[in-house]
Symmetry: C2
Subunit: 240 residues, 2 copies
């Protein structure tokens, strides 16, 4: 990764709130920052001069998840004049330089991180079972955390998660994207659990099923036989 401004747009970053669903919880992908104690961040990166914004967001998500075609949408630009914690970034660049992995001259590297970045927020929805976690260049590790039990995130990244979640709640019905968090086939109960995890409230089972079926976007497949036949649930698939 080189950061010369002939390669990347200066003072502009992208941060991705990658949502996954497992164990009844809506989860967010969070990276622990390399060489820093107790400092976590959303997966982020910069925009190449030759790249569309959405291509950059895809690349940043792909680097950490291995997912080539996640559902991806914007949820806002974050650009408060004081959003950058200068002291924190200075400490981070010093630590990274000590690792000896950055090919740039120290002065250029420090200069790159010394100014405010306006960050464009994208959220991604992935089938968590398809993800192969992979740390980014400045990540010590990357892991899933329940959205209501995140570690301490740097700068305004917690506000970004809140913004992404608010947008996801607005979009879930209108854009019919809950299916993006599930495997290709799923039971009605799994779908309801995704809604309950996203909105953090229970849904009435009969109403929920009727509403989903009335949308006309679900294809009913075979039953899942794992116990008594009369209790076996149907599998569904989202009609593209």
């Amino acid at each position: 990764m080189t950061l010369h401004d002939t390669n990347y747009i200066p003072q502009l970053s992208i941060d991705c709130v990658v949502f996954g669903y497992s164990e009844g919880k809506l989860k967010v992908l969070v990276a622990k920052i390399k060489s820093m104690e107790a400092t976590w961040t959303l997966p982020g990166g910069f925009v190449r001069q030759t790249e569309d914004l959405v291509q950059a967001a895809h690349r940043i998500t792909l680097e950490r998840t291995g997912i080539t075609t996640p559902f991806l949408d914007q949820f806002g630009a974050f650009g408060a004049a004081d959003r950058i914690n200068v002291a924190l970034l200075d400490k981070m660049t010093t630590q990274w330089l000590a690792l000896g992995e950055e090919p740039m001259a120290e002065a250029d590297f420090r200069a790159w991180f010394s100014k405010r970045f306006v960050s464009l927020g994208f959220y991604a929805l992935v089938d968590i079972q398809q993800v192969n976690l992979q740390a980014g260049p400045f990540d010590e590790s990357v892991d899933w955390y329940p959205v209501d039990q995140l570690p301490h995130l740097i700068m305004d990244h917690a506000a970004m998660v809140a913004g992404a979640l608010a947008t996801l709640r607005e979009h879930l019905d209108r854009k019919l994207i809950a299916f993006e968090l599930l495997p290709e086939t799923f039971t009605m109960r799994s779908l309801q659990e995704v809604y309950e995890a996203v909105y953090d409230r229970p849904f009435a089972r009969n109403n929920f099923q009727k509403k989903m079926l009335d949308l006309g976007v679900l294809e009913r497949l075979d039953k899942v036989y794992s116990g008594a036949a009369h209790k076996a649930p149907f599998l569904y698939r989202f009609k593209e």
Copy 2:
């Protein structure tokens, strides 16, 4: 206006879709570009290094409208790698330089406009009766156009208007912002006409009135006496 990158964030712009309502139409503020034939643009500008994004959007809107506190919200970032029409911008900078008004060195001025700008879209809602139109530094003039009868806008500005209108339609009810397009007091009929202009479809009068009153956000004031007393409509005000 100087454009040295010590003052402004490079490769980042803000374009504002300023909506107003008059004569039964939803209107958008559009500037004719100075020294160019038949070239129109949304009011835009750059972000000062010391400025929050939302402050920059306020400044850009204020410069053209005189309105200090419009309703303002983001509707998306536009950053396709090929979004800049290089030939058009080159022609524009040549024309502007010929005017002799730009204090920057020609090479710096050309360099500033030669790269892609990622543009952050903000939309504003104003009471059109309160607006004092004022051309920006590169505007020949600035005028209101019905949203469905816009002149030919440069680059992706027509897509920006479409994006802003889609966001306005999503927000109108949820954020209760229709009142921002009206004077402080208004009749139920005016409010309905704003909804009809934004959504471009008729609303049933009784249903509309019931829905608005049920929201519990309207304060009923005196009647407007202009003809027969029994036909005089009530005035309403939005409870802050």
